[in-house]
Subunit: 477 residues, 2 copies
């Protein structure tokens, strides 16, 4: 949460037992490749959104074991002194590639790859998963909600229901990447530049002799941005009439009302009519009560008169599906300069991993700039622009299609080289804009909340062959 | 997450606009009371568990605005210089009462009450909610899972799926309070004394020429606690036979196998038979694949042979219900030494708040030490042991019952007096033991995972009358 925190010890304990184990077996410096990828898009959606990379970079930059950590580990009585001595001088020296934040992502794609000494590349598993899983979850959910709002602003209002401090702060960061316009959380603005918003709670209204006085005081103090909460007593009989009276008397620069309970469609239609009748067409209506993408879609379809939404618990916890199931798997080893691809077999075909050091290309139609498919290749394979390229379904290889008139984009960028960060994170607004632009390249059929088209994530012929050769070898084993 | 962090600015922005508003209207130092309570038990359970108080105390002890905070707030252009000057010297001076951690809690009960200058008592809303909501959610979920395991150990294994760093660390703390025996998360042991456990991932097994070698190396390095992951290739054909071979050859002090995939009931029965046949009755079986209270209950009913469970994402996110809906409401004001109870009316009867400064008593049967009912009273009311006491259903007042032979326990303790902490948090093991003991006082009917009996949370006659007088006044208004 707080920037600059050393989270080295925020790790599954088995990363430490394995690290010591590799140290003791002289395997610590074998060169290994690990891929982080996910298998299922939350909420049955058509795509997810990559987020959390900036915090991964920060984590890796701060990796080091303090004396307190060493002392704690020594107390466990299972680690060798030689190993503990090594940890004292631990330095992260791996290479890292990753998909930039804000990119639409699909199951099976290596989002982060770490190459380096086995012990290190294994050790960073827990935090890479934690950080990317969390923020990708929230960015993906936020984007669903933002799309449901059809251009109306969506504010992240969930701080009080977040799973702890970092869930609140980095959750609002991820929500902003996904398209929210701001947050209720002040520290997210101070530390991450995400606009923080908010005016009053019901208790403000209750503190005054009556609602009119409460609104009046507020408008006196905040004449520039006067959003009044109108549902403390009765929205239509008391809240809206008092707000109208204040707006006419005090003429605040920016006027709004917020409704936090009741039948949103009915109340906002009636409130809009009352405001318009009073000549207050400029007064905006904000709604904020247990919203999600489905409720927002429905009330808009019903003709609710809403200018913006404040979305709380269902966004900040991704309530309908609070888990982003990213995993981190060994994909290759280097031995004497030779690359040895590794596979993890499973009875469940979809759980078999893609072996080797890979790249991910996204192919776009040259005329429309819309996506055609993603192709996972082995490192070093080229997809030449202008040259016809055959893609095929890796589960049903007879389904083949040759595509022309496309351009290919390598989805991943180098992040660390020999433990040194060589990537500069874009600022949060650049990430948010990039995310929006990239989503515009997706087919409409991918944007459905339910039953979207399944996007093509194909394997190159070479990767497919490598994979199936390993599967065969395993079967003969 | 990290202890000692200043989270003052982790607040909904409206707490700041209201604070400045109260400052500007000379109401900042009016004495107000706020109650934190919740309305609905997650997962349709019979009770929840209070957790997060230690972090609330830490938060309140660290409350102060830094120069950076002031600078940020000044940049918003809406706060008066006088107010910002005041924030520089801000000192928390409120009184706080709370239900101790580990206590079974029920809807409507004031879990935390803050009394003090309006501006302060309002300001701390966001973080009190965030901290108590999060940890109570996880403690409650963990306890369901622990109860399903019927005495078998449950380890918290969810770090990688937690919503950020504090969700991982404080989540494992809450899970421990709820009855887990340990966590995968190393930093939770270093900082909170919760036993951290873990041995190997699939990648360890993949790194060696074969499974036998991988197990052998592990057993050499960790002869005291050798839990082998047996499902990398094939549990029954390869994993268990290799583990048996190692256990017989190496005779580690503590032996176990872990199964992380497949049909848990079938595999553990077969594995147990194979282990027993090899004379390895001491070898324990750990299972860890997408578990929750229902799956654990079912596999035990099916006769699965499991000694302990590792539970990940469904515990650390409380996946089936990831929101604990605690709220924070104004309940009273003091004016010229007189107590003025405040109420928040709602069309939904259950959402009407309980006014006034209150106490919560839990009544126990003297013979059985089982709970009878909780009674919320106004402060200062006495429930005299030995004297018959009439309780009644506050929604259906004709349902009355006089109880005898009981003793009453005041559920809440003073935490802060004039801004000074006067409470010493028990250590985490004391909290965990207290939680277990308190759950033993509950009726069996409250322990059901679904359709539990609804526990009685009654109001004293005096509080009921105060509440209904205010409701009537509001209706005439």
């Amino acid at each position: 949460m707080a920037k600059g925190l050393n989270l080295t010890m925020l790790t599954d304990f088995y990363e430490l037992t394995m690290a010591n184990g590799y140290f003791e077996t002289d395997m610590a410096n074998d060169i290994a490749y690990f891929d982080m990828f996910f298998r299922k898009i939350p909420d049955g959606g058509g795509f997810a959104i990559m987020a959390g990379l900036e915090q991964v970079i920060e984590y890796l930059n701060n990796l080091s074991f303090s004396d307190k950590d060493i002392e704690y580990l020594r107390g466990k009585g299972i680690f060798s002194e030689k190993f503990l001595e090594y940890l004292k001088g631990f330095k992260f020296t791996c290479d890292v590639w990753a998909v930039p934040e804000g990119t639409p992502i699909f199951p099976g794609e290596p989002l982060v790859t770490v190459r380096g000494p086995l012990m290190q590349a294994q050790f960073v598993e827990t935090m890479i998963l934690l950080l990317v899983n969390h923020q990708s979850l929230i960015a993906t959910k936020a984007n669903r909600i933002v799309r449901a709002a059809k251009g109306r602003g969506v504010m992240e209002f969930g701080t009080r229901r977040a799973h702890g401090a970092s869930a609140a702060v980095l959750g609002s960061r991820a929500a902003y990447i996904g398209g929210c316009i701001g947050t209720a959380c002040a520290i997210s603005e101070r530390d991450y530049g995400i606009m923080a918003l908010g005016t009053m709670a019901h208790s403000w209204v209750q503190m005054f002799d009556d609602e009119y006085q409460a609104f009046k005081k507020y408008a006196e103090i905040y004449p520039n941005n006067c959003v009044l909460l109108v549902d403390t007593y009765n929205v239509l009989k008391s809240g809206v009439p008092n707000a109208i009276r204040i707006f006419k008397e005090m003429k605040p620069e920016k006027m709004g009302i917020r409704i936090d309970s009741g039948d949103v469609t009915y109340l906002t239609k009636r409130a809009r009519a009352m405001l318009d009748e009073a000549g207050l067409q400029d007064c905006s209506i904000v709604v904020s009560n247990s919203l999600d993408e489905f409720i927002i879609r429905d009330v808009i379809l019903e003709g609710a008169c809403i200018d913006s939404f404040g979305v709380g618990e269902r966004l900040i916890t991704s309530k309908s599906e609070p888990v982003f199931g990213g995993v981190y798997k060994l994909s290759a080893l280097e031995k004497d300069g030779e690359m040895i691809p590794k596979i993890k077999i499973s009875e469940n075909v979809e759980k078999i991993t893609n072996p080797g050091f890979k790249a991910v290309y996204r192919l776009f139609d040259k005329d429309t700039n819309k996506v055609i498919a993603d192709v996972i290749t082995l490192d070093g394979e080229e997809i030449v622009e202008g040259k016809p390229y055959e893609i095929f379904d890796p589960q049903a290889v007879w389904k083949r299609k040759t595509i022309h008139n496309f351009y290919a984009k390598n989805l991943r960028v180098p992040i660390f080289k020999d433990g040194k960060c060589i990537y500069k994170s874009p600022n949060i607004d650049e990430i948010r804009t990039y995310c929006k632009e990239q989503i515009e390249t997706l087919w409409d059929e991918l944007l459905r909340f339910e039953n979207p088209q399944i996007y093509y994530v194909d394997l190159s012929q070479k990767l497919w062959e490598t994979k199936h050769k390993l599967i065969e070898e395993h079967q003969n084993f």
